[in-house]
Amino acid sequence: MPNTFNLTIATPAGWVADNEVESLIVPGIDGYLGILANHAPLMTAIDIGLLTYRDYAGYDHILAVTDGFFEVSNNKATIIADTAEEADHIDINRAKLALERAQHRLKIAVTDPSIDVERARAALRRAMNRIKVAEFSEIMDPKKKTPSA
């Protein structure tokens, strides 16, 4: 039995995870961070990115997260994020449409000053992240992975 710690992920739409986990990788604002049990207390902001964790049974979970916060202390990791979606819940077609829309908006933003470039850019990053996470999980296929001994 490896060392585990508690991970909770909360979004405005509810709990996404409340689990004993073995390891965790979060997209911190200054780069990805790997967390194991008994990590020193740490706090950081979370960027748009890919979050993975391995639960106590050895299964890998892959999620797409957008803007949030991460805290770990006393073997408890807490994540709050605007969105956090399990890879197989991502609607890849919707993400692709969103990507196209954002690209289009950025293209016409050169001539149309009414477009909020910041927002379009953020939408573009979110869509790209979703697509990336969905594709990554297809390669990984965590469901087929056997629990490690």
């Binding site: 604002i29 740490l42 709050i80 969105t83």
Partner: protein, 300 residues
């Protein structure tokens, strides 16, 4: 007294109204349940955010400059009032109460020489205020009727419009007037200061907690910038809470109003039925008397 035919017609139409109000009551009950669920599912997020904020506020040096959204202005010259109510009527005094509170608050501020602008959410409020003398915030029209599901992107957009205006010194204070949801029947109109944010000042907790809780935290990149990242998110959560509460109260209010309407329709049908029976009986008696009278006349 009304004629028998008129009475029958009225009974029928009141019965029709009762059916509609009863259906509306049930629809509102479902919507209320969904609105409550929405508040409920956001609770873990808000709870965790409060925890993290408390930890951070303890770690931040109280002497460092405050986040612009927390900085109080020396003199309040311009006030923004955000009024939150509903798009539809038939919900009892829900809209009227909010309207009254806004007018009161705005008038009071004006009497103290403060310029007032109103940001309106809810079509019913707009219907009222567009013919009044108050200044309405121009961005308001994009948010008159908002999605009840309160998606994050929408809240973010709304929040950034308001916070940006505050940071640009267009306003010195922002208050929100909304209906707080206590239970399906108990609602309270609340005025809450939205900006500058109060109650989160660093070091406001006791010193003992400060030393025990936050020592030893690693901050990436550092406590102050984390705190500043979290503040706008906190403001967004506050905004979410108020809008979600308002929606829940609206459905609760409508449910109550429709419940009463259904009950009143029932009472009305009862009295009308009594009147109808009396009228019918009178007609029968009259007819009988006429027959008897006629027979009497013939035999006599």
């Amino acid at each position: 007294m009304a004629s028998l035919r008129e009475l029958r017609q009225r009974i029928k139409s009141v019965g029709g109204i009762r059916q509609i109000t009863r259906a509306m009551e049930m629809v509102s009950a479902t919507k209320l349940r969904r609105a409550q669920q929405r508040i409920e599912s956001a609770r873990p997020y808000t709870m965790k955010m409060d925890e993290i904020l408390a930890h951070l506020a303890n770690a931040v040096d109280p002497d460092m400059p405050l986040h612009p959204l927390m900085e109080p202005r020396k003199e309040i010259k311009k006030l923004l009032i955000i009024g939150v109510a509903s798009n539809k009527g038939l919900c009892g005094s829900f809209n009227a109460n909010v309207i009254r509170k806004i007018e009161l608050h705005a008038t009071e501020a004006k009497n103290r020489g403060i310029e007032v602008s109103i940001f309106i959410i809810g079509r019913k409020l707009m219907d009222f205020f567009k013919r009044r003398k108050w200044e309405i915030h121009p961005e308001s029209r994009n948010f008159i009727s908002i999605d009840e599901n309160l998606p994050v992107t929408l809240l973010q957009h709304l929040m950034s419009i308001i916070t940006d205006a505050y940071i640009r010194f267009e306003f010195d204070q922002v208050d929100i007037i909304y209906t707080e949801f206590k239970s399906a029947i108990v609602h309270k109109i609340v005025i809450r200061q939205f900006l500058p944010i109060i109650g989160l000042e660093p070091g406001s907790d006791s010193d003992t907690r400060k030393s025990s809780k936050t020592q030893g935290y690693i901050f990436e990149p550092d406590a102050v910038s984390l705190f500043n990242v979290l503040i706008p998110k906190y403001a967004r959560v506050v905004l979410f809470r108020m809008l979600a509460d308002s929606f829940a109260s609206e459905h609760g209010g409508r449910m109550g109003a429709m419940h009463n309407a259904t009950k009143n329709a029932g009472d009305m049908i009862r009295t009308l039925t009594l009147q109808r029976n009396k009228a019918r009986q009178t007609a029968i008696t009259k007819e009988l008397a006429e027959i008897v009278g006629g027979a009497e006349a013939l035999s006599g």
